[in-house]
């Protein structure tokens, strides 16, 4: 038995999945990860480079091990995103729904990302974050501004846009529940 097979077997046994959190700077990626992991969200600074969080996540009585890669979204860091695409099971694109001015920039970055060959099979979850802010765009408006349609996302890709607020925690768990279930149905349906 080769090393790769052993690793695959271990991964299957532990029900591991790899989530890549991306989005423009100040979208709230780190806050989302911390909130989902039940950590303190005060005093966060912009991410320089990336953070990896491993967390256990239970869906329908089955525990999964999530490896969440939280990558900095500053313009100077976006060129490094491609280093994290390999073996990504789900792509979580976080949007600051209150930042209407940069929706076009956000749409362009997301579109570029969806064209990446290494992300073709990955599930896409778009988090319309910061819904607690007054003037935040709704899920429909975010989808429209990002140009998210079946064709733009890719006909075979599973995707969803979910409203949430990392500050209050609203809508986050439902969204993560969906993404974990979707990845699990692809990877571990027969396990």
């Amino acid at each position: 038995m080769g090393l790769l097979s052993i690793i695959r077997k271990v991964k299957r046994k532990e029900r591991e999945m790899r989530l890549l959190m991306v989005g423009l700077d100040n979208a709230g990626k780190t806050t989302v990860v911390r909130r989902v992991n039940g950590e303190d969200i005060t005093g966060l600074a912009p991410t320089v480079g990336f953070h990896i969080k491993t967390m256990a996540y239970n869906v329908g009585g089955v525990s999964y091990r999530l490896n969440v890669w939280d990558v900095g979204g500053q313009r100077s860091l976006r060129g490094y995103w491609r280093n994290y695409f390999e073996k990504t099971d789900a792509l979580v694109w976080v949007v600051d729904s209150g930042d209407v001015m940069r929706m076009d920039e956000c749409a362009a970055e997301l579109s570029a990302l969806l064209g990446e060959e290494r992300l073709l099979g990955a599930t896409l979850l778009v988090l319309a974050n910061k819904q607690d802010l007054s003037g935040a765009l709704s899920v429909d408006e975010v989808s429209k501004r990002l140009g998210l349609t079946g064709e733009s996302v890719g006909k075979t890709r599973h995707w969803q846009v979910a409203a949430c607020s990392a500050a209050t925690g609203e809508g986050l768990l439902d969204a993560f529940h969906w993404v974990v279930s979707d990845v699990a149905s692809r990877l571990y349906a027969l396990a």
Binding site: D25, N26, T31, I41, T42, G43, A45, P46, V48, Q74, R75, S76, L77, G98, D99, V100, M101, R102, D132, L133, S134, G135, A167, T168
Partner: protein
């Protein structure tokens, strides 16, 4: 014999160890109790929130008392109210600064609640001023009309789809042209180093772009502000004039100065701009150089601003060229000015230099 002596030695050692362990445990307990009781008062979120609410209540009460006196026609009530409103606006700035300095231990919810409280206070001050005090005509507009700059100004206002009143008093106030939704833009202007352009940005995602040599005063509370391709412009959106609830983006701006009161400040591809800031989070800059920073409100002239320069951060050694500096205390021309006239005068002076 030998076994009994070794046993007694072992028991002595055990007793000694036990005594040492007891002393250490006592010390540890003492330290633990000390640290649990020594909670720094400045990091106590409950104390902070009660102080914050108290300041807000007192300020609101004082202002409303003056407003009641003003409506009942008491002599000198108007001037009292004007002073109270000016003080309230300074208090609002202080409250925002307090919130900014406490963000590291407050929860996000509390930070936003504090920001909402200070914004509500500011709105109340503006509302009372609009109701009880007639809007002043600024000296500069009179100067401009006398000096024959009105034509040039009209051109600017036309290009900005001017919707201001035609009675002359507010003729300088432009509403940026709507470009869809709540977004609006003021663009393509040349102030000739003399013009002061008032822009009403209330409730807008306002963009000011492709302009040069002008003072731009943004009035009201914008939801976001983008400054793009401005050369030698002084943009004022702080203090009595206005503020931004969300982010301020500065892109490809050269020279000039920007005074902003906002939640965030992000600067890209800009050179030689001076920033006077009252922001809740650390200003972020990328691909920019020779920028200068100072706090907007800084009574003793010793405050400074911490800026995150991503080009510097990304270098492995962390010792890249420093692309920003703090403005010397003696050169902070826009800091610590309490009246709008003083700020405009300083801005105009800055434009001419």
């Amino acid at each position: 014999m030998a076994s009994s002596s070794s046993a007694s030695r072992a028991s002595t050692v055990l007793a000694r160890l036990e005594a040492r362990h007891r002393v250490r445990a006592l010390e540890a307990q003492k330290v633990k109790s000390q640290t649990s009781t020594q909670k720094a008062p400045e990091e106590d979120s409950d104390a902070f929130l009660s102080l914050f609410t108290q300041i807000q209540k007192e300020t609101t009460q004082n202002m409303q008392t003056c407003a009641v006196a003003c409506s009942s026609g008491e002599p000198e009530a108007q001037s009292k109210l004007a002073n109270e409103i000016a003080e309230t606006l300074v208090t609002c700035d202080r409250m925002r600064a307090m919130t900014a300095s406490a963000t590291y231990y407050l929860t996000s919810f509390d930070v936003r609640a504090c920001e909402a409280q200070s914004n509500a206070l500011r709105d109340l001050a503006h509302a009372l001023r609009a109701k009880h005090l007639p809007r002043r005509r600024f000296k500069f507009s009179q100067d401009f009309s006398r000096r024959g700059y009105a034509g040039a100004l009209e051109h600017v206002l036309e290009s900005a789809s001017d919707t201001s009143t035609a009675n002359g008093d507010d003729a300088r106030t432009a509403r940026p042209a709507d470009i869809g939704g709540r977004e609006a833009a003021l663009e393509n202007f040349d102030g000739g180093k003399t013009q002061v352009i008032d822009v009403d940005v209330s409730g807008l995602d306002a963009t000011i772009r492709d302009g040069r040599d002008a003072v731009v005063v943004c009035r009201g509370r914008a939801t976001a502000l983008r400054l793009a391709r401005l050369t030698n412009c002084i943009v004022l959106c702080a203090g009595e004039m206005g503020s931004v609830d969300g982010p301020v983006y500065v892109e490809e701006c050269t020279q000039g100065a920007v005074a902003v009161d906002s939640r965030q400040l992000r600067i890209h591809d800009s050179q030689g701009v001076a920033f006077y800031v009252a922001v809740s989070s650390t200003p972020i800059m990328e691909d920019s150089s020779n920028l200068k920073f100072a706090p907007w409100r800084d009574e003793d002239g010793t405050g400074d601003v911490h800026v995150q320069d991503f080009n510097r951060v990304l270098r492995d050694d962390g010792m890249g060229t420093c692309n920003w500096s703090t403005i010397d205390a003696t050169s902070r021309v826009l800091t610590g000015l309490n009246t709008e006239e003083a700020v405009l005068s300083a801005a105009r002076g800055l434009l001419c230099t």
